[in-house]
Structures are given as structure tokens and as C-alpha cells.
Amino acid sequence: MSDILIQNVCKTFSTKEGEVQALKNVNLSIGSGDIFGIIGMSGAGKSTLVRCMNFLEVPSEGQVLIDGKSLGDFSEKELRKEREKIGMIFQHFNLLMQKNVLENVCFPLYIQGKKKPEARKKALELLEIVGLADKANAYPAQLSGGQKQRVAIARALASDPQILLCDEATSALDPQTTSSILELLKDINQKFQITIVIITHQMAVVREICTHVAIMKDGEVKEQGLVAEIFNHPKSQVAKELISRDTGADVEHVVTKPEIQSGEKIRIVFSENSAFEPVIANLVLIFHEPVNILKADTKNVGGVAKGEMILQFMKDSSNVAEMKEYLKEHGLEIGEAD
């Protein structure tokens, strides 16, 4: 358990084209045990910000305090010691390609001067936790992206960190794998009480696991607070944009949740003229039978606004055929839903 305090942090890079201000007076307070999301478009400065939290990037101005102690006050040696308490995972996993999975997880322990048997024992336990014990002797090149990230997580946990920094950790993964990695991070947060900082450009990631969120743009934090709060009442322009861009689609769940009703599903499409009539409400009133709205969305198809809805009928309903007929009569297109 550790908290992170970022005070008035600025970071300027000097490039050939002149000075670039990557961070402008950033203030953040990340509480112990939080899962804190930092979201923004690329170039917003979020990767620089997360690197300031373990001093891979040293801020040009301002302070970073971990548990009240300023990283800037540490000597180089003390800083290396402190980094052992701050694990980090990356978008491209950054595993040692010439070492097998077990040795990759042992790596931080060897750095700390741990002996081989001790390191291996610990590494195997961690591989068990991330579900890759059977891959201990495989090489990273033989693993899928999701598996590589699991190895990276095990490696980051090897030194019993109190903080885990995740830099776009799911951006190179497909939605299903993303969901399973997020699930794992959530478990780790609860099991080990580790504070997790997640850098992402995917709103779905924040929605899925974060407790708190900070929204960044052009090197500044525009808004921060509880995820639910910001979703319901976004104040800044960039927050509103990010939320409206969010399609509402969940990163796919690996374990599909049990359906409330297991009846037939259909996909219906509203065209412009059918959007004025409360068709679904009337359908329910006429047939005296509830329908489950699983998803509703509007899409811009060739310049025309189309509403799409996935409906599910009651299990064993005898009215399905008639209900479909009713919908068709009222100008809706009906298709199969998967």
C-alpha cells in the first residue's frame, strides 16, 4: 500500500525543433490501494507523467512524493532501491527475448542479489498466480501477446511492489485478452493491496477497472476524480469528448455473464421514419410480455442516422413470431443477433 503525490510537475524536452513542454504544472493525488486511470490521446503527456512516478524521467520542476518521501531527494542508489517497490509493465511487454519465462520473472530478484533457488521458487509462485506455470520453460517468442503481458506482470510483482505502473499495458492486445488482463490486475489490486496506475487511451479500460481517473490533454490534467462521478458529470470539454467517443461496448468478457433470460435474440434497425414512434413500448403493451434490451446504439451509415438495438425475448415465449411480425409492420428491419 502506497500513495503517490504529484506536485506542480513540469517536464520540458529540448528537441531540434526547440523546447517541448510535455507536462505543464501537473498535480495529482493517488491514494493507497486505488486503481487510478490516466487517460488522454497520444501526445497528451501521460507516458511522461507515469515515468515521473519512478523517475525514469526526472521532472524539470515540481515534486513526486511516494508515501510522503520525495523521489528527488534520493541518491541514485536509494532511488534504485525505491524502484524495487514500484513495478512497471509496458505496451510492448519488454521481456528479455533470449531468456525463458522463468528467468524473466527471476530477473528483478537477481538484480537484488537473490540466489537462484530462492528466486526460482518465488518466480514459480508468481507464474502460478498469472496462470502460466506450465510455460516456465518457454521463450517469449513462443507466447501470445496476452501471455507475454502475464509474464511481465509476474515479473513486475517479483519484488513485492506496493505500486504497479501500467503504461498502455493493454493497447497491443485484442479486446478479449484486454479484458482478461484487466481482470488479473483487479485481482492483484485486491489480493496484494497494490496501488495501480493505468495509462490508457481506451475509455473502456477506465470504465472497466479504475476507481479514479485523471483526464489529460496537451500536458495538463483537465479533470480528475472518481470514475463514476466523471462519467455522470463530465465538466471539461475533453472529458465530454472522451465519453461521447466511448462506444459503450465493453471490452469483451471472457466468462459471459449468465443471461437474465435465455430466449431468442434479434437485432433490429431503426431507420429515420420509424424513430418517432415508441415501437418497443407499444410492443410490450400489446403483448403483455417484457423484452430485454441488451444493447442500443446509433450509427452513422452513409450519412443517415441508424439506430440499432439488440432485443431478447422471454424464454419459451410463444409470441416471438407475432412480435417479430409486429416490428416488421412498423417499419423496422430485423436481423439475427449472434
Binding site: R83, G87, N94, Q98, F107, Q112, S159
Partner: protein, 219 residues
Amino acid sequence: MWTKEVTDMIIAGVGETLYMTLVSTLLGYAFGLPLGVLLKVSDKEGLKPNKLLYKILDVIANIFRSIPFLILLILLIPLTRFLVGKSYGTTATIVPLTIAAIPFIGRMVESSLNEVDPGVIEAARSMGASNWQIVIKVMLVEARTSLISGATIATGTILGYSAMAGTVGGGGLGDIAIRYGYHRWQADIMIVTVVLLVLLVQLFQTIGMMIANRLDKRK
């Protein structure tokens, strides 16, 4: 002309060439590997950027690499005499060979280390690794395939240089080729020695690549 004497001489020549090449390569790596690491580490994107150190090493490496080996051989005679006690013969040839090899090897090592994914180095830093640990446990390990193929190329090049040393009485196959082929017009002996040189290079190349491939875990 294929008397026992000639055969013995050629066999001894092979031995001398191997001796010169391998000892020079080893000595070359003893200095060239640290040189390459220093170049990489002090580079502006390196672990500990140091403009002055990089520039000095860079210039020295370039100067030595641009002097033709035959000239270097002659320029270094005083040093060779000081170190070995004489300026001709197989052991004496090792001195200029090594000096010529060091900057060459240093550059090869530097470019091998440049291939290491900066992300992996960043990950090691995030775990609290020191620069020394990053060099030993990350860079040299991750670059090993490239380092070994580099060593294969370096060995072949040094073997070629060792043949040039024949012009100043350096011993080995090159010496035989020049003495018999050039000075005495005995082309057959020269052809045999050249074929042997080619075979040696081929042998080093095959062994080197085999080791490099076997150690590569990226596929």
C-alpha cells in the same frame, strides 16, 4: 616439388595462421568489447551520456580504422619491438593485428548493442537495475546472437590481415603464399595456401553462424 618439407611447411603455416588469428581476436575482444560498451554507454542516447568521452573514443577508433593495415604494421614496429622483443615472426605479428582489430571490434560491438530493444533496457531500469547490471545482464545477453556473428566476421577479417603480415615476414599461410607464389613464381604452392585460407574462413564462418543460431531464442 611436393616434398615432405613443403607439406610440413604448409601444415606449420596453417598452425601459425590459426595461432595469430585466434590470439589476436581474443586480445582484440579483451580491449574491443569494453571499447564497444563504452561507446554505446557514453552515446547521447546511452545509459550515461558523456559527449567528451564518446568523441575521444570515436575519433581514436576512426583514426586507427582508416590507417591501412600494411602501414600500421610498419608504424607499430617500435611498439612491437618493445612488447615482443623483435619485429618479425608470428608472435610479433599479433601486436599490430590486435591493435588493428580493437577499433574494428569496438565498432562491431557498438552496433550489436544498438540492436538491443530500448524498451527492455527501460524495463530493467524500472526494476532498479544499475548501469553495470544493465550492461552485463541485459545488453550483452540480448545482443549475444549479433555479437557472435560479429565475432565471426571479425575473425575472418583478422585472418585476412594475418595473411598480409606475410609481406614483412610475419609467418603463416600468407607468408608462404607471398614467398613462393610471388617471389619464386611457384603458383601451385600459392594456390594451395590460398585454398587453405579460403577453407579456414569458411570453417570459422560456419561454426560461428551455427553457434549464433543455436543461441538465438527469438524464434
